[in-house]
Symmetry: C2
Subunit: 301 residues, 2 copies
Amino acid sequence: MPQVHLCEVGPRDGLQNAKQLMPTEAKKAWIAALAAAGLKEIEVGSFVPPKLIPAMADTEEIVKYALGIRGLKVVALAPNLKGFQRAIAAGAHKVTFPVSASRAHSQSNVRMTPEQMVDEVRKCAAWPHPGVEIEGAVSTAFGCTLQGEVPEDDVVRIATELAGFCDGVALADTVGYANPAQVKRIFSRVKKEIGEKLEGAHFHDTRGLGLANALAAYEVGVRAFDSSMAGLGGCPYAPGASGNVITEDLVFMFESMGVSTGIDIEKLLLAREILVKAIPGEPVYGHTPVAGLPKGFRAAA
Amino acid sequence: MPQVHLCEVGPRDGLQNAKQLMPTEAKKAWIAALAAAGLKEIEVGSFVPPKLIPAMADTEEIVKYALGIRGLKVVALAPNLKGFQRAIAAGAHKVTFPVSASRAHSQSNVRMTPEQMVDEVRKCAAWPHPGVEIEGAVSTAFGCTLQGEVPEDDVVRIATELAGFCDGVALADTVGYANPAQVKRIFSRVKKEIGEKLEGAHFHDTRGLGLANALAAYEVGVRAFDSSMAGLGGCPYAPGASGNVITEDLVFMFESMGVSTGIDIEKLLLAREILVKAIPGEPVYGHTPVAGLPKGFRAAA
């Protein structure tokens, strides 16, 4: 049976953009419920300065808690060597580095050019990190609200450079500009350059194309997807960015296609209840949670 | 340049399910604005008993009005010979007949078995209808909220029968159960049986898969799609049905892929304003209208 691997990024990408802070204990309960639903990989936080993103101030504690969940790969984001060192110290299994292909977004997000950011990740890769996986995530890979079009050659070049010293590379549509034709084209081009090092796809649903883009990526061989429960998410330094692909609907799409996600949709909806209760004023999205499963629905696995 | 043909079904599928009645004059203004945005085909109403669906009571007047819009194909739905005769008298260019593949939905919707409904459409096709195109729309073709699974063989059989005397056949996911793998499989099977008579795809966005399903259909050669502005829609006799694929997002998806729809998105948003003002309490959907077009966006045509 065909399979895909999902990484839940809500606790990081979602909560960093939420208007409300989720209390640390609620984060733990939510992450535990996500893992109980079958998520095998969760991006639980980011090691950025707490004064810049207060919602991520408890990332160290959250990483340590998540390490206690059997079978869960614990991911954290880091924007530089300092963040990487904190992630290693906390014990994260995997650290993801955002490298904007857009010059304008790169300056806004990390105050570096894309080349400087690639160098920063290279420096991290050279730093001792026994047992810690490194992912280079090419962000704004499909366009940028600041810069507009992002040349595909820039995306391919950055992904190829990152593949030289990262364990895996992901392509991210940070601001929801991607379309299915472009997704197929760019993923195929990058795959041709870096082969199996091309891992994941990270889509936002800003213009409603999240699932269509995920389908397009699946059709060109992508088997790892980021998504965010209830469609939370965005980027604090990318104006106009909005929520990620919705985990609940993405799971429903794949399972209904006969592609196993390893995730139990009923249990996923229990995790959603925890989320909704913990940040009650936050807008939440998702069609499947509202409509329910089809009569006679059978999951893939 | 690749092209798709869109039929706006909001004035029929959308308004028949809206809680508010749209005044006749507002309907006319909305339809005119849709046509001005580039829609070449609009399903403007249905010839059903007004006491059953009051929102469709003015269909005759609306058809006559729409006939005055240059270059517009005016479509009406009819559930039986009586409705067909009214549609012919009003001057509709095309009449679409819903034929449920689900026995349970067929009884609920038209109080006939699928076989009886096929016979009813056959009777209509035999009735003189000079210059009027007939479409057989196989509804609940991907599942049914009442019956659950709908056997694919039933869908293929009904579509093939309808192709014997209709000008075209469409497949409709009336209740939003379809998934992309199923869409590819069933459209391919039906295409093999009836070839060019297979015309359109009608998807609902109930579980968020509307655009992904449209993409899947496009990939197996479908070039005609129904959609509804602001995602209005449903089926009054199919519990749990909700809105159609959203015209605004569908147009954005295709145009951004380089597939021409012939529709001007900016003008489409003007038509949306008319809709929103005419039924102000109605929930409206759509990502692209909220997010706006990407910076530097270029339409396909």
